[in-house]
């Protein structure tokens, strides 16, 4: 299942949104990427179905030092925003 997230919002807001989607929809994030070339952009999030009896640990979005990449920590794969 593919979704888009407002890439202009704060990293914390994006993190809350992804965690909320995982929790409410019994989903698991598998990739997260975006293109920040434009002043206004969206990030792309892909989720897959997960077992309803196994809630996932919270994921964390971490922006790298140069500000170009965003990583998802925890047990999840992470991701690069391609600029």
């Amino acid at each position: 299942m593919d979704f888009t997230v407002d890439g202009n919002s704060s990293l914390q807001d994006q993190q809350n949104t992804l965690n909320h989607t995982e929790s409410q929809g019994s989903l698991k994030l598998t990739s997260y990427s975006g293109d920040a070339d434009d002043a206004s952009h969206t990030n792309n999030a892909s989720f897959e179905d997960r077992d309803i009896t196994t809630p996932l640990p919270p994921l964390t979005l971490v922006e790298s030092d140069d500000g170009n990449d965003v990583w998802v920590s925890g047990q999840l794969k992470k991701v690069a925003i391609q600029r």
């Binding site: 593919d2 979704f3 997230v5 929790s23 989903l27 009896t53 809630p55």
Partner: protein, 316 residues
């Protein structure tokens, strides 16, 4: 005359006769045409069958069924001949069309302005505009490929309608009377027209376009930015739901049953979230079906978490 000359003449005559006979036979096989006199004969034959059908319909339905099927076969045969003539771009058989329109009573309800002998021509002009192939500007501009696509559509539509007709041949005349069969034959006839092919192609491509747009929308669903409070509520709900489903999957029925009951009751108390389901539908679900439904509801309201909060509270 020498013997050899006589022999040569006999051989030449034999070859000539063979050519003439062969060409006649081939021509007869090429076309199964009904000449005008044959169309008249067919009309007599059909009228005779119709009279018999009326006679048998009430008291001897088995006989009537036989007659009805003969009428259907005759109708299919005539329509196929017309279609094949059309396929070969032949417009020479207007007498056959006239017969067919009479037989199937085409145009009787829709063409009030038609006058007597002009009926077939008028029906062609007004109802089957595409059938003539030259009536509309669009038809004039068809390229070979486009025409082939339409023609393929016609063939597919005809096969579909004919299949439906043949499925009813075993029905008795009460459930499938000749009048209904005649309507189906009309549909079979119209399925071979350009207009029908165009309109069904339009429906198909429209549906495909809608599906494509829907898939695109689903693929691009925008997630609304969630607040910290909404996140906490969703995580709590996730844990409560996981606990109840774990119990519902327990091998011990005495443990599983109350959990399943709880899951079902929570849904039944929130039927406004699932307007396409009834309490009976929910009672009929097993644990797997319940899991599917819970996920469906949660994902449907991904951007409106407040809507599912009552459902979450019921699982605490």
């Amino acid at each position: 005359m020498s013997l050899s000359k006589l022999f040569m003449q006999i051989v030449a005559s034999g070859v000539l006769c063979a050519i003439v006979l062969t060409s006649t036979v081939v021509q007869a096989q090429k076309q199964p045409p009904l000449l005008k006199s044959e169309a008249d004969a067919e009309k007599v034959y059909v009228n005779d069958l119709l009279d018999k059908y009326k006679t048998y319909e009430t008291n001897t339905p088995d006989q009537a069924k036989l007659i009805r099927n003969k009428l259907i076969y005759t109708g299919v045969e005539q329509i196929d001949i017309v279609f094949n003539n059309y396929r070969k771009n032949s417009r020479k058989r207007n007498d056959l069309l006239q017969f067919l329109f009479d037989f199937l009573e085409i145009g009787m309800s829709s063409v009030a302005a038609v006058v007597n002998g002009e009926r077939a021509k008028t029906v062609l002009n007004e109802v089957l505009t595409g059938f003539k192939g030259t009536h509309t500007a669009a038809n004039k501009d068809f390229r070979l490929l486009e025409a082939q696509i339409l023609f393929n559509k016609m063939v597919a539509n005809r096969a579909k309608v004919l299949g439906a007709i043949y499925e009813k041949l075993n029905d008795d005349v009460r459930t499938y009377p000749w009048e209904k069969a005649r309507t189906d034959l009309r549909n079979y006839f119209f399925a071979g027209t350009m207009d029908d092919a165009l309109s069904s192609l339009n429906v198909d491509t429209g549906a495909e376009a809608n599906d494509a747009v829907k898939a695109k929308d689903e693929k691009a669903q925008q997630l609304r930015i969630s607040t910290p409070r909404e996140l906490v509520q969703a995580q709590d709900c996730d844990k409560d739901r996981a606990t109840v489903f774990s119990q519902a999957r327990d091998q011990d029925a005495t443990k599983a049953a109350p959990a399943i009951k709880k899951l079902k009751q929570a849904l039944k108390d929130n039927l406004d979230l699932i307007p396409d389901k009834t309490a009976g539908d929910i009672d009929a679900l097993d644990v797997k079906g319940l899991e599917t439904l819970y996920k469906e509801v949660a994902r449907r309201f991904l951007n409106q978490p407040d809507k599912v909060q009552r459902l979450c509270d019921a699982l605490k």
